[in-house]
Symmetry: C2
Subunit: 82 residues, 2 copies
């Protein structure tokens, strides 16, 4: 089996009010940052055993359901699970 | 500067209704998975230039605001930004 770790984030050009709110919350705790961006982390366990096949399936899942390409982008990492 | 990529996920023992809903949504598109888990992806840009200092700060941020340790766990990756 293969586990996919997908990170879906807002495109850089898109304002991130959630990230801004967290940045301010951290500042109240005297924890200062240059920038904070919030996105979705999706872990998908697949029965595929080849990374290329898993990548194709994950790309289709992102295209059809998981990612709104108008405002979001995504990156994915794979782990082979014995 | 250093960029931290934090993935906050529900502990394995905790039921994930959001993940179950996405799994079912994918099945309606004939995209079958063994399991789907949904979490938060947080990207934090820090002015620190040493990874150890950045790690300490990120761990404190997670302890004090970003992670609910009753039900969540987290992992973090670092990238040095020139």
């Amino acid at each position: 089996m293969i586990k996919a770790y997908i990170d879906v984030t807002l495109k850089k050009s898109i304002l991130d009010p959630q990230g801004t709110a967290v940045k301010k919350g951290l500042e109240k705790l005297s924890l200062y940052t240059e920038d904070v961006r919030i996105g979705k982390h999706i872990e998908v366990l697949l029965k595929e055993d080849k990374i290329e096949a898993a990548r194709e399936k994950i790309d289709e899942m992102c295209r059809r359901l998981l990612v709104n390409f108008e405002v979001e982008t995504y990156s994915v990492r794979f782990e082979v699970i014995e």
